[in-house]
Amino acid sequence: MSTSFFEGVLSSAALSGTSILYATVGEVIGERSGIVNLGLEGVMLVGAVIGFVVTAETGNPYVGVLAAALAGATFNMIFAYLVVTRRGNQLASGLALMFFALGLTAIIGKSYVGKPIGGLKDTPIPGLANLPQIGHALFEKDLLVYSVIPVAIAAWLLLYRTSWGLRMRAVGEDKTVAFAAGLKPHRLQYQALFVAGLLGGIGGGHLSIAYTKTWQEGMTAGAGFIAVGLVIFAAWSPIRAILGAVLFGGAVAVQLQLQARGSNVSPFLLDMIPYVVVLVVLMLFGRVKGRVVPAGLKNVFEGTG
């Protein structure tokens, strides 16, 4: 029952790319409102542990996913309070919260390490699941995998096709101007970070509830930072984030598939593939015109609202 290299990579990319893509889309929304959250790793961990605990206690993975989302959003509200209301330094606040989350989640999850859960089961899509090459890889997965691309598209619509998105992006470009135009920058940033937290929480939840069905301290293992990096790679677009997550997930999958197939290259070199791919893409496309950093990421806003 050995599968093709392509199918193996695709299947693995779909799984490992999913949690990263949720988090990346969330971070795009946050950064569009003018806030960089280096604590995303912590948001994902909080989502992962609360999602796992609730799934273990209720036996219902969907309740677990919901709890993961709300927990991620709640945790992100602490960050929002620090950087929006208290105007703390974004980078320092994010990192501090990441370390806080590492400890907090280890305590919360302490008695849940090694607890078996049913978790989110695969739901094959009738018909599509039997397609050659891509059937098992893409259409025999869990519901969170199926919904991640629609969520990214929805995020794009939210940002570019709703007045809320327009207002939020205006805040991300220039808070002072947005404020002068009668918008409430702080409220909009809180909302953006709430949505970002929901998505980051789901990303972490997917890792613990669906993908690995285990909880382990620090299990996100840097996925949150990769998501922050992919936002730049994706030029702050949720649609391009899909490409980024697929590329990154695919590169991780390629190196594992190569090892499994007995490649004669050192595993240390293979381990570098995902990062080399990201670097190469950034070098090739880094200077494309129209790649606009939300200007607010560079400024400090002193007004209220």
Binding site: S12, S19, A106, K184, R261
Partner: protein, 375 residues
């Protein structure tokens, strides 16, 4: 609008707080026997874990050992700390345990070696036992147990039970004792099934459930139908293997079977409880310093054992494995018996010769049958 939004925030915060409180209430600390309850002089021992005590792996093996000490010597007070980083944190934890009266410390992680030695040099009256360390001092001994004989024997089970002739291994890092295990397992499998080949993935981390799940899937995609591993916690790999409908062989703790009720074959478990009990007794008697400074257990000691068989293992396979174990115990068989070729075709151990026991610490080549993995 703002009020509604703030309300939502407040509600979700309250919800998360309740969840967190429930989670904390669920965890309980291990009971410590009251020192000196039976008139015996009190003795305090400290064990530091790098991960969680319930990881069904490396850390759980050490935690179970502490529990065995507690059962054997009820007057001993066992202090345990989990999830301690391999840096100055562990030094502080050890100092803290010593200030609570600990006379015996088990810094149970490879990376605790240097910080442990450092603290030990300041406390000559406190004895240390470190797992798998390669440096010793007068009050700092090291211990481990060889497991390549068990790996060879379980390789026999894997070689007999595979239908695709493809076995898989997921390792944390490409280091000698991991290579040694892979080689022993492969030799065992090929001794009964010359067509068996071993596919190896190194994750370059001892603990990353996401990568472990992806590695298991990559091997299963490749047609591998028996999987084994050396990572800190085998839970994710064994669970994913079960989901994919393939067999698994565990490593570290004997408590992994529940994650793979169908596909479990067996596993290697390290059982340090008896050894640590004897260490405490010799500290009390004052003879500890004359113990071997680096103690390496094997099948003939109580430091390493096989996990119970899974339901899928046929009786003739069990008999073959157990017979091989008996041969190893009696010294009638050796894992590396020449001729042994590496996977590039050159003879590494000539016919008629046996492998040097120090290979476990130096080996950097794979035996014939291991696919790829250039250096």
């Amino acid at each position: 609008m703002l009020n509604r939004f703030l309300k939502l925030v407040a509600w979700s915060m309250a919800g998360a707080a309740i969840l967190a409180a429930a989670a904390c209430a669920g965890s309980s600390s291990a009971p410590n026997a009251a020192a000196g309850a039976d008139g015996h002089a009190p003795f305090t021992m400290g064990v530091i874990h790098v991960g969680s005590k319930t990881d069904a792996g490396y850390n759980q093996a050490h935690a179970e050992a502490a529990a065995v000490v507690q059962r054997n010597l009820p007057y001993v007070k066992v202090l345990e700390a989990e999830n301690i980083a391999e840096n100055a944190d562990v030094s502080r934890v050890i100092e803290n345990m010593i200030s609570q009266g600990a006379k015996f410390i088990v810094p149970a992680s490879f990376g605790y070696l240097d910080p442990g030695l450092d603290v030990a040099s300041k406390h000559p009256d406190v004895m240390f036992d470190h797992p798998a360390g390669f440096k010793q001092a007068d009050n700092f001994h090291t211990f481990w147990a060889t497991s390549d004989q068990q790996s060879y024997a379980l390789g026999i089970a894997a070689g007999k039970m595979t239908k695709t002739n493809k076995l898989g291994f997921i390792g944390g890092f490409k280091i000698p004792n991991v290579i040694d295990t892979i080689n022993a397992f492969t030799l065992g499998a090929r001794s009964v099934n010359p067509k068996a080949e071993m596919h190896v993935i190194f994750d370059n981390t001892w603990s990353d459930p996401g990568k472990e799940a992806a590695s298991t899937n990559a091997l299963a995609d490749q047609g591998v139908d028996v999987i084994t591993m050396i990572v800190d916690s085998p839970i994710t790999i064994v669970q994913t293997a079960e989901q994919r409908g393939i067999y698994s062989v565990g490593f570290h703790s004997t408590e992994v079977q529940k994650y793979a009720p169908k596909g479990w074959i067996s596993g290697i478990g390290f059982t340090w409880g008896g050894f640590l009990t004897r260490e405490i007794q010799s500290i009390e008697k004052g003879t500890w310093k004359s113990n071997p400074k680096n103690l390496l257990g094997d099948l003939n000691t109580d430091m390493v054992t096989l996990a119970p068989w899974g339901p899928a293992v046929p009786n003739d396979v069990k008999t073959m494995v157990e017979a091989k174990i008996a041969d190893f115990k009696a010294g009638k068989a050796q894992v590396f018996t020449g001729p042994v070729k590496d996977n590039k075709g050159s003879v590494k151990i000539p016919a008629g010769q046996k492998g040097d026991p120090s290979l476990v610490n130096t080996i950097d080549w794979f035996v014939e049958g291991v696919i790829g993995q250039g250096s």
